[in-house]
């Protein structure tokens, strides 16, 4: 129970962080809720209708049908299903105009990379020192540049037998804020692992082969090696 509350709190923290990036708030769309009307409601209705969530008339009025559609959409997108169309929901709808991609930014973002990397870090290195979390993220990125491993981030993460958190499903939990920061630091080029492509916890059973790697350093409970 305590854990559930804690993770619920964490989710709120992450949502707040995602929803209110201090950096850019140019011309945000208004927050929509029950009873609102206008062109923005119409826009949201069109979007939701196109994706099959909204079954009612596109009339620009936020009513019961709209509420059902918004909560359904929010649940399907891992958002808090509160029926309020705020920045996070607008972003998921693809209509968030605050800041956003400038010239040439269309279709290219690092957000997905940060998210996936953060999930692995959160699952594999929870409770490790911050430095150790950045190092774990860096190991994944180093693997992309190493001939012995796949060349894409998803390829590295989901490689067979590579990460226990993928095998046991822990990776699908929401990442901690520190894990997200660590992922971003690693993507920005930080590498406390010193170029490592392996890490393991010596107190857990690992294949003997892994000990034949050249060890670079130890951070917290993890050994990093090349």
């Amino acid at each position: 129970m305590g854990r559930r509350i804690a993770s619920g709190f964490l989710l709120v923290v992450i949502l707040v962080a995602v929803a209110f990036p201090w950096a850019a708030m140019a011309a945000p769309r208004p927050t929509l809720y029950w009873g609102r009307s206008g062109p923005n409601v119409r826009l949201a209705q069109q979007r939701l209708q196109a994706w099959g969530y909204y079954r009612g008339r596109v009339d620009g009025v936020y009513g019961a049908n709209m509420y059902a559609a918004v909560t359904w959409f929010q649940r399907a997108n891992g958002l808090t299903a509160d029926g309020v169309v705020g920045p996070a929901t607008w972003t998921a709808l693809g209509e968030w105009s605050g800041g956003g991609a400038g010239p040439g930014g269309r279709g290219v973002t690092r957000h997905d990379d940060v998210q996936l990397l953060a999930q692995v870090v959160s699952a594999e290195a929870r409770g490790e020192p911050y430095e150790g979390q950045v190092a774990v993220a860096a190991v994944l990125l180093n693997r992309m540049r190493d001939p012995r491993f796949p060349g894409t981030l998803a390829g590295v993460v989901y490689q067979e037998a590579a990460f226990e958190s993928v095998a046991n499903g822990a990776i699908y939990q929401n990442p901690t804020r520190n894990a997200t920061r660590a992922a971003r630091d690693a993507l920005n080029g930080w590498d406390p692992s010193g170029g490592a492509v392996f890490f393991w916890n010596p107190s857990k059973p690992v294949s003997p082969w892994i000990w034949s790697r050249q060890i670079i350093r130890r951070i917290g409970n993890h050994v990093f090696a090349r």
Partner: protein, 469 residues
């Protein structure tokens, strides 16, 4: 009579519960079997695809050896690259031991990468030399061997010799022992033999024996073992400690709680730092600073403080970072790209060699946007590549270089820059043009000696700043 009346409802209820549980288990069994079969099909498809691609590679390498003309050879080499990356993608989804994954994956990646290096040479007008030809012959033989081994494994599979996901056999042992899960990290308990049959051992054995491959490409075995360019006399741990005072921002506010030695390309002492105000005796640390064992340079500094509400903008952060670098002796640095996220700004500074921006000599600085404190420094790249270079003089002028650009580009700015070459093994002096095309921004690099177009980067404007793609 009364006894039966007492037991009958209980017995019926128990039978009903048992029946429900039985049906439920049976359904669960069916669902599990369907999942297992779907996964089995996925794995076997990937394996068969991999075998197909390896056969293609060996045949294309053969054609590449036989053909007399460069354009034809380039065609084959580009196909080799295509099939090699497809084979690697397929291969990486198979549940195999880590050692085998590493060695075979590396063979596939290097084969593709080597083909690209040949392609690049031929595109630049350099014909295949004797060494490349020998290497190609060797790769051909090895990929043919691999193709044969994969066919053997394929035969074992079709005869029912092994399954990627062997179905769980009901036995007494399965009551208390968890069945092996393919895809779980290979532990000592779960040997490869229990999962896949002998054919893979052969593949592993021959892949382990492959020689080191040296060529002009990013996956060449030579690039991994580079020595740092900035080095110096060995520094003892006791000598390194006082250097923290000079390098670490706000050094007086910290005390050292632990020291760890770091190996690798840049051996270092890692000092674990805690706020000086923290109670003594603990070993939790909030910052680390690594000092190089050779030369005593600052390798990295990292403070994990979570920042508050931003009060400093990216431009101010740039100045803060610049001032800090000057204060620790790196005066000639210019800010390149910057990124602000979650209350922190990361700015990359490149060495300015008499007006030439030397991108490989890079130091990254992280600045807190709430109070402008330096939260991190990463000088690894700078230490690896910074050295005194011969005078960087362009052969062609900026105007001549600009003529080589695609005419529709609008040039916003131009400057001389030293960039890494495509293979990642050398440096090129180039004219850098910041251009706009429609509403997109591109950086185009024209070789300042030959006039060849070396690199095109797209600049992406995101919420927090710019980054290049």
């Amino acid at each position: 009579m009364r006894r039966i009346g007492y037991w009958a409802p209980i017995g019926t209820l128990a039978a009903l519960v048992l029946a429900l549980w039985g049906v439920w288990t049976w359904r669960l069994g069916i669902a599990n079997r369907d999942l297992a079969l779907a996964l089995e099909a996925e794995r076997q498809r990937n394996f068969s695809d991999m075998a197909y691609h390896v056969e293609q590679i060996q045949s294309l390498l053969g054609k590449g050896l036989v053909t007399a003309t460069a354009p034809q050879n380039m065609r084959y080499m580009s196909d080799v690259h295509l099939h090699a990356s497809a084979a690697a993608t397929n291969f990486n989804t198979l549940p195999l031991p880590a050692a085998l994954q590493a060695s075979t994956g590396k063979f596939l990646q290097q084969t593709g990468d080597f083909a690209v290096s040949l392609l690049r040479n031929e595109a630049a007008g350099r014909e295949m030399d004797g060494r490349a030809r020998t290497e190609l012959t060797r790769l051909r033989k090895e990929s043919a061997d691999l193709a044969v081994q994969l066919q053997t494994i394929s035969g074992q599979y079709s005869r029912g010799g092994f399954r990627w996901n062997p179905p769980l056999r009901l036995s007494w042992a399965s009551l208390w022992r968890r069945p092996p899960v393919p895809g779980k990290p290979a532990t000592g308990a779960q040997s490869p033999k229990s999962m896949v049959a002998g054919g893979w051992d052969q593949v592993g054995a021959s892949m382990e024996k492959l020689p080191v491959m040296l060529y002009d490409g990013p996956f060449s075995d030579g690039t991994a073992k580079r020595a740092p360019a900035m080095t110096g006399p060995p520094v003892a741990q006791s000598e390194a400690a006082p250097r923290l005072q000079a390098f670490v921002p706000g050094a007086a506010g910290y005390r050292t709680v632990g020291i760890v030695e770091v190996a690798g390309n840049l051996p270092a002492y890692s000092f674990q730092l805690a706020p000086a105000t923290a109670p003594a005796g603990g070993n939790t640390y909030t910052a680390v600073a690594d000092i190089a064992k050779n030369g005593g340079y600052l390798v990295q500094f990292m403070n994990s403080r979570v920042t508050g509400r931003p009060a400093v903008d990216l431009n101010r952060a740039r100045q803060v970072g610049q001032a800090y670098l000057t204060s620790i002796g790196y005066g000639s640095m210019v800010p390149t790209y910057g990124q602000a996220d979650d209350g922190e700004a990361t700015i990359a500074y490149a060495y300015n060699d008499n007006g030439v921006v030397v991108y490989p000599d890079q130091i990254k600085v992280k600045v807190a946007l709430d109070n402008g404190e330096i939260l991190g420094v990463d000088a690894r790249q700078f230490l690896m590549s910074h050295h005194t270079r011969a005078t960087l003089q362009p052969v062609i002028t900026a105007d001549e270089a600009q003529e080589k650009l695609y005419p529709a580009l609008q040039v916003q700015r131009r400057q001389l820059a030293l960039i890494p070459n495509q293979a990642g093994t050398g440096e090129i002096l180039a004219w850098e043009f910041l251009t706009t095309f429609g509403n997109e921004t591109y950086l185009v690099y024209i070789n300042a000696n030959t006039g060849a177009e070396e690199q095109v980067l797209q600049q992406i404007q995101s919420d927090g700043g710019t980054f290049a793609l």
